[in-house]
Structures are given as structure tokens and as C-alpha cells.
């Protein structure tokens, strides 16, 4: 088992992402993103469109057909890049146990 473990050594890549979520990502950042984005469907973060191309709310997939997507209404966005940064921070905390500095 050699699944990548994100650590403090990846902080430069976190900064890279927060500065430019759309990339292109460096190899180091891509490795971090590959780890973060390979969650199973159950609990995976997604965005639910409130207004197409304008407004979104964070949500989690349930991984079960027929079960409603779970909305997280405290995270609403009018900017997709801000949504990416928010989810990156949430995942960083979940995977390392530490919050990313603002």
C-alpha cells in the first residue's frame, strides 16, 4: 500500500493551489490533488448549482442511488475558485489533522 500521505512537506503545493486553483499544477501539487480527489462516492464533496454559472452550494454525495445529496448550506459560493479553495482546506484538515493557515 503506497497511497500518498499528505504532510507538512506539501505546504508549498497547498500555497500553489490556493494562489491558482486552475493550474496547471506542478507535479507535486498534482500528487496532492490526486490524493484529495480520489475519495469514494459516499461523502465526496460536490457543488450543487443554485443558478447556472453564477451560484453554487457545497454538498456531499451519498453514494446511494435514491438518497438525496446532502447540502452544506453554510458554504455558498458565487465564485468557483473560492469553492475550490474551500474544499481544498476542508480536505487538508481531514487528511492531515491540521488546518491550513489563511
Amino acid at each position: 500500500m503506497s497511497r500518498y500521505r499528505i504532510s507538512r512537506a506539501d505546504l508549498p503545493f497547498a500555497r500553489e493551489f490556493l494562489e491558482n486553483p486552475r493550474g496547471p499544477a506542478s507535479h507535486g501539487l498534482q500528487r496532492v490533488l490526486n490524493r484529495m480527489r480520489t475519495d469514494v462516492a459516499g461523502g465526496k464533496y460536490v457543488l450543487v448549482v443554485r443558478e447556472p454559472h453564477r451560484r453554487w452550494v457545497l454538498a456531499r454525495l451519498t453514494g446511494r442511488r435514491g438518497a438525496p445529496v446532502e447540502l452544506i448550506p453554510e458554504h455558498e459560493f458565487d465564485d468557483l475558485l473560492e469553492a475550490e479553495r474551500t474544499v481544498f482546506r476542508l480536505r487538508w484538515k481531514a487528511l492531515t489533522g491540521e488546518a491550513l493557515a489563511p
Partner: protein, 756 residues
């Protein structure tokens, strides 16, 4: 757009002027709804797009129509009507082989015969705990014999139900059929019914893979395979009978290996108790007799006597027609839709209007890739596939339509989904509401920006025709399949959609004939002509694809299951059928990624005088460093030239994309040996090529090899060099003057390097 209160589908996706169409609609209780005919010009709603244009056509479709909500009843089954030959006394045995896939996930009926009104009759079933059980209900009182032994998923068993009218003994029995090191034992259970009361001889049809609940609803669907069931007029004590059944009369013996393409199951007993299938269970799948010596059911169907039933199979929603309407005789060819509306809700059902029968009303024909729309119909890529975020390089956006699909999985599946039991989906139908076949729909894989996909992405092209005031007729994939080359013959130019990925043999034959007749083909997409599909000869509006061998796919078909049940064709990549897309359009699928697109850079070959008309008025060296689909003209799915795969040696590679990121990866069919360096920042194979070549018949091909190209055409309201370059090609292709290929060149130049 609708969140599900309004839904519907048309009986066809293509019609001639003067034709009458049926609309099958569902409307939640409330006020009546209205219906309008609209013409779709441009469906991208992104703020940077040229503007959403869906224009009302002044045709009265009737209405307002009273709200009437319909349901979809998914789940496949077999049905054998009641007949005198099925009145055979109440001493009987029912035997079959089964390969359950979800035992323990609820009651699943294997075979049953019950009076709808009373429930009297019998069922052989897998109970809620996953154990084989026999049930008999007499005067509303149910007797159960459960083996209490949980069946294993994906294992073959012989199962039986036996009833002795003299003793009332009801028995359930199973024996494992698989060989191997795993310890597996059979099971038996018995109970006693009221003697002398009918168990088998009830006035009811026999159902397989579900219980007949009432006349129109079926419940307790079975997930798994059922193999050659039979019924005899004798009970058994311990040994489950096999055929021939000595000393017993065979009431029915269905051989599922007969007539595999059909929706009929054939009784070989002589009693003609043939049955029919509902909702397209999967045929042409291996049974317990498959031993690996045969991989093609057309060669030896005896290995393929199983049918795989799924509780989520759906061919036809089966809603009654809500209204019918007749198209005006003078309605111009184009992409239209029926839009049903109530208050702020609406649902749009596109279809193509052809030129009048036997006529052409333009020199350009737009081949609407409806087979590919069907292949992706109601795809759950954003809901079920966790890798979507990874390959898109961004968070997945779910629309109101996605949320509705999540809440209502009965809308059915497509080639990108798995059945609930984990098996792959081989069939996809248009006879149901298709949420993603609507203008305005925001997709998942359409790249950063507009994120349009398939139909809505193709409206970038219909919008372009409108912008240039270019007259065009429309023909669909299904038309091309049914009618052959005749429906595109005589058009000077054929323009494809952005992602015409799925192609039947008849379609490919027709396109080849068109080219051999001097046609000019503008392939304005990526990953086209990739998968071979089969249409059904008798069932309208459904396609099959077994994605055999390799290719980019959501699942691999089971071993021995590479041949379509509809036709017996070896479906899968056209490349594995000896007709790579390169042999038609000069390029073939090379790589994919769904985040940022990239520009093309002109090659020296673009200076060739043969290509001068293409670059007339275009000075830029970098082509398409902008766009609505990922911000570049080369993106999403990329095709490259490759002589070894059939790109003509005289083809000019005019431009090659560069600067793709590592979300882009080469295709698995090119990755014989997994090695590092297959991402876009390193691999030569991750690129799109713009290719032009002339044909011996005076025609020509122009291919862009990128799904994102049309998103760049539409950028800045179609005022850009990608749009101008494409218009240059169209203008010349419309010119009568024949093209002439150059003399054969030496065998060099456009060979694609192996990514490995």
C-alpha cells in the same frame, strides 16, 4: 429548467415535415401545462456564450393539457401468458439454474405464478435474508419453505421448487454448480400446504425474475442470471430433476439460447408456452455451461442459455401519448423541440426535422449524433463516479436535473453506468425522459467554462450555421443507420457534431459510401467513430455496445460477452474491428482530460499550397488559445493522426495542440505496457491534430480532432480565427470544383510515436 414536475419524451428523435409525432408527458398535479414547438439555435447559457436562442415556432400543438403524473416502472422480467397447457395439476416441479448478484438485498422472485387479485399461487424466490425459498399461497394463507442458507453472489446454483398435491409437501432445494476450492453445499427445506387446493393451477401468467403484483406493476425483481427454467408434472424428494425428466411430462422448458436477439423466450416442450421479455434484460450472456471454449454466442449459443435480469433495467417508460401533433409541410429542416411548460417549470424534448422525403433543401447536412446522445442518456457520471472530479480537475457541479436523477434512478441507465448489482450496462434507450438531452443543460465533462456536452455542445455548431446564415439540413445517426447512404447522398458537405463517438456498421458503411462518392466531410469534434454499436432490428430507439477488449470505458464486459445480443456483432472499438476512425477522418482518439484545453500551433505543412484556402486571412501561428470549452480549441477528447492506423499518407497535419496538463492521459488502447510519462506534460501522444486531405473521388476531409473546437468557434460571438478558419473550409467544401489528391508521398511524416 424542470426539476422533475414536468417530464416527457417523444416517440422519435427525427421526423419529416408533415409527420405526426406523439409526446409522452408527465406533469405533477396542479394546473394544466402548455406545449410549444421551438427551434434550437444555441443552447449554451454561459455568460460568455453567444446567447441562448431557443425560438418559438408558430405551430399550435393543442392544449393546455391537464396535468397527469406518470411513473416509470423499471425492472426486467419474462412473462408467459396463462394457457390451457399450463393447467397441469398441482403436482409439479419448477427447476432452473441461477447466478444471483444481490442475494440478501430484499425479496427477489425467480419464478412465480400468482393470481393478481388474491395472491394465490406459488413463488420460487430468494428471501430477504438471501436464502432460497418456496412459497405457496392458498386462500390468502402463505406457506413457506426456506432453506435458510444464504446464497453467494456470482455463483451458479441449480434450484428447484416442488409440490406434491397428494401430500401437500412443498419443497425448495438448491445445489451449487461451480467447481473450485470453496466449500459449498446444497440446501433443502420443506413445508406442507393444504391438500387438494390449487397451487400451480391458478388463472395467472407465469413470471420470471419478479412477482406479478397486478396487471401493470411488477415487484420483487430479481438481480442476476436465470438459465433455462423448466416445469414438469412430478414432484421430487431430494434430487433436483434435470432434463430429460424420466417418468414425468414436461409442461414447459424454456431454452434461452434460442433467438437471442429477440424479446421472445422459446418453450421447447411442444406446448408452445413461449413467453416475452419486458424492459430488455441482458441476453447473450454466459450461462453455467460456458467453459471458455466459445467467446461468441453466434458461434455456439448453447453456452449462452442465460438471461441477466436487473431490477433497474428500462427500455420503454411506456407512458401513453399525452398529445400528438403534425409538423407543417413547409417546416424547414433543423433542430427543433417540444417544450412543455407550466409556470417557471419547463422540459424540452429535442428532435430533428428532416428535409422533405427524397429532397435536399441545402448543400450542407449536419449529422446530429443521436446515437452518442443515447449512449450518454441520463448518465450518472457526476453522481456515481468518484473519479469525475479527478479527470475534470475541478469540483463536479450538479444541476437540478442531476438532483432529480439522483432521487429518481428509475429514469434508467446508459453505457457510462453500472446496474445496481454492479454489472455493466449494455443497452441504452431513448424511450424515456432524457434529462441531459435539453438545451441549456450544464454537463460534467465539458471543460472549464461552458461545460456543455454532447447535444448542448452541438448547439455551438447550429448557432454557427445561423451566425453565418448557412442553410443546412439535419439527419440523425438513427436515420443514417436505417436508411443508409441515401439520406446523405448528394449533399456537398457533411458536418459532424462535437463528439460522434458511437457508430453502427450501417452508419460507417454509409459514411464510407458518401466519401467514395466525392463527399466532403468536416469532422468538427473529437473521439468520433470510436465505438461500434448495434441497433435493434425490431425495437426502436435502443442501442447496444459491449465495450470489448479495451478503450476508455466504465467497465469491462464479462468474459465471453463481447458480442452484441441484438445482432451478434463484435462491438467495441472500431479500431478492433479493422476500421479505425483514421480511415474515415484521418485522425483517431489519442488522449483525454476534462479541465483546461490548449491551443494548436501551426505546422510547416500548413504552408502547403493545398491548404492555402484554409488559412486565408489567418496570420496567427497559435490557433485557438481561447474558447468556451476549457479555454482552448484543443481539449476534452483529442484525436491525432497516425498512418499506422489508417491516416492517409497524403494527409496534411496542419496544426498540433501543445501545452496539455497532466490531467490529460493517453488512451488505454495505446498503453500496452504501463510506463511513467503518459500525462499531457510529457507524452507525445497527448495531442490533437488538425488534418486535411483530398479523396480520389474529388472530395475532402477536414478534421479538428477535438471536442473543444466548437467551443472556440462560438467564442466572442463566433468572431475569431477558429470560426473564420472553419468557415474558410466550409466555403471551399461547398465549391463544386473537385479536390485532387497529390501524387503518393514517401511513407513518412505523420506516424504517431508510441507513448510507451
Amino acid at each position: 429548467m424542470s426539476a422533475g414536475d414536468l417530464l416527457g419524451y417523444l416517440d422519435r428523435w427525427s421526423a419529416f415535415p408533415g409527420d405526426t409525432l406523439a409526446c409522452h408527458a408527465s406533469c405533477a398535479p396542479g394546473a394544466p401545462y402548455r406545449a410549444e414547438l421551438v427551434r434550437i439555435i444555441q443552447g449554451d447559457t454561459h455568460p460568455d456564450a453567444p446567447g441562448y436562442r431557443v425560438e418559438r415556432i408558430d405551430v399550435d400543438l393543442g392544449g393546455p393539457f391537464a396535468a397527469c403524473q406518470r411513473r416509470i416502472e423499471p425492472g426486467s422480467l419474462a412473462l408467459v401468458d396463462d394457457a390451457p397447457a399450463m393447467r397441469a395439476g398441482d403436482t409439479f416441479s419448477v427447476v432452473a439454474s441461477i447466478w444471483p448478484t444481490t442475494p440478501g438485498s430484499g425479496r427477489q422472485v425467480l419464478l412465480s405464478r400468482r393470481e393478481p387479485a388474491t395472491g394465490d399461487g406459488f413463488s420460487l424466490l430468494i428471501d430477504a435474508n438471501g436464502a432460497l425459498a418456496a412459497e405457496a399461497t392458498i386462500d390468502g394463507e402463505t406457506v413457506t419453505a426456506s432453506t435458510r442458507h444464504v446464497l453467494r453472489a456470482h455463483r451458479w446454483y441449480r434450484v428447484g421448487l416442488s409440490h406434491d398435491a397428494k401430500t401437500g409437501r412443498l419443497c425448495a432445494a438448491f445445489d451449487p454448480l461451480d467447481r473450485g476450492p470453496e466449500v459449498s453445499e446444497g440446501g433443502r427445506a420443506a413445508a406442507v400446504t393444504a391438500i387438494g387446493r390449487p397451487v400451480f393451477d391458478v388463472a395467472a401468467p407465469l413470471t420470471m425474475a419478479c412477482r406479478d403484483h397486478d396487471e401493470s406493476e411488477y415487484r420483487e425483481h430479481y438481480d442476476g442470471r436465470l438459465h433455462n427454467p423448466f416445469i414438469i408434472d412430478a414432484a421430487f424428494d431430494d434430487a433436483i430433476p434435470v432434463l430429460p425428466a424420466h417418468g414425468a411430462r414436461v409442461i414447459a422448458a424454456w431454452d434461452f439460447s434460442i433467438d437471442i436477439p429477440s424479446q421472445r423466450i422459446v418453450d421447447t416442450s411442444g406446448n408452445a408456452l413461449h413467453g416475452r421479455l419486458v424492459n430488455l434484460p441482458t441476453r447473450g450472456v454466459t450461462g453455467p455451461d460456458w467453459d471458455g471454449t466459445c467467446h461468441a454466442w453466434p458461434h455456439d449459443a448453447s453456452h449462452y442459455g442465460a438471461i441477466h435480469f436487473h431490477g433497474d433495467d428500462l427500455y420503454d417508460a411506456g407512458w401513453p401519448a399525452s398529445f400528438r401533433f403534425t409538423l407543417p409541410d413547409d417546416l424547414p429542416s433543423g433542430v427543433y423541440a417540444v417544450r412543455i411548460e407550466r409556470d417557471d417549470d419547463q422540459f424540452t424534448m429535442p428532435f430533428c426535422v428532416r428535409a422533405p422525403r427524397g429532397e435536399r433543401t441545402a448543400d450542407v447536412v449536419f449529422l446530429l449524433p443521436t446515437a452518442s446522445y443515447m449512449a450518454y442518456a441520463n448518465n450518472r457520471i457526476g453522481l456515481d463516479v468518484p473519479e469525475t472530479e479527478l479527470v475534470c480537475g475541478r469540483l463536479t457541479e450538479l444541476t437540478a436535473e442531476d438532483l432529480f436523477m439522483q432521487a429518481h434512478p428509475e429514469l434508467g441507465l446508459c453505457f457510462y453506468d453500472l446496474h445496481a448489482d454492479g454489472s455493466g450496462v449494455y443497452y441504452s434507450s431513448r424511450r424515456r425522459p432524457v434529462m441531459d438531452f435539453q438545451p441549456g443543460f450544464v454537463g460534467k465533462l465539458g471543460g472549464i467554462g461552458s461545460n456543455v456536452w454532447q447535444f448542448n455542445a452541438d448547439t455551438h455548431l447550429t448557432g454557427w450555421f445561423d451566425h453565418l446564415a448557412v442553410p443546412y439540413d439535419v439527419v440523425t445517426d438513427e436515420d443514417l443507420h436505417r436508411e443508409g447512404a441515401g439520406c446523405i447522398e448528394g449533399y456537398r458537405v457533411l458536418v459532424t457534431g462535437t463528439h460522434p463517438e458511437y457508430t453502427s456498421a450501417a452508419m460507417r458503411d454509409a459514411l464510407d459510401a458518401y466519401m467514395e462518392g466525392g463527399g466532403r466531410l468536416m469532422y468538427l469534434g473529437g473521439n468520433g467513430f470510436y465505438w461500434r454499436i448495434a441497433f435493434h432490428d425490431d425495437l426502436p430507439g435502443v442501442i447496444e455496445c459491449r465495450k470489448s477488449e479495451d478503450g476508455i470505458r466504465a467497465f469491462a464486459p464479462g468474459p465471453g460477452e463481447y458480442y452484441a445480443s441484438f445482432t451478434g456483432e463484435y462491438t467495441g472499438l472500431w479500431r478492433r474491428n479493422g476500421r479505425p476512425p483514421n480511415t474515415l477522418v484521418g485522425v483517431g482518439m489519442a488522449a483525454q482530460g476534462f479541465d483546461a484545453s490548449a491551443p494548436y500551433v501551426r505546422t510547416d505543412a500548413s504552408r502547403d499550397p493545398r491548404a492555402a484556402f484554409i488559412f486565408d486571412g489567418i496570420d496567427a501561428e497559435v490557433i485557438g488559445d481561447f474558447g468556451l470549452s476549457g479555454g482552448g480549441a484543443a481539449g476534452i477528447e483529442l484525436d491525432a493522426a497516425d498512418i499506422s492506423l489508417g491516416t492517409p499518407r497524403h494527409a496534411l497535419v496542419l496544426a498540433t495542440s501543445t501545452g496539455h496538463g497532466d490531467v490529460y492521459l493517453v488512451t488505454p488502447e495505446d498503453m500496452l505496457d504501463p510506463v511513467p510519462g503518459l500525462g499531457g506534460s510529457e507524452a507525445e501522444g497527448v495531442r490533437a491534430d488538425v488534418v486535411f486531405f483530398e479523396t480520389p473521388a474529388g472530395g475532402a476531409v477536414f478534421s479538428v480532432g477535438s471536442i473543444a473546437w466548437a467551443g472556440s468557434m462560438a467564442f466572442n460571438n463566433y468572431d475569431n480565427e477558429v470560426s473564420r478558419l472553419t468557415a474558410n473550409v466550409l466555403r471551399r467544401f461547398l465549391d463544386d470544383v473537385p479536390f485532387t489528391p497529390p501524387p503518393p508521398p514517401p511513407d513518412t511524416s505523420v506516424r504517431r510515436e508510441s507513448p510507451g
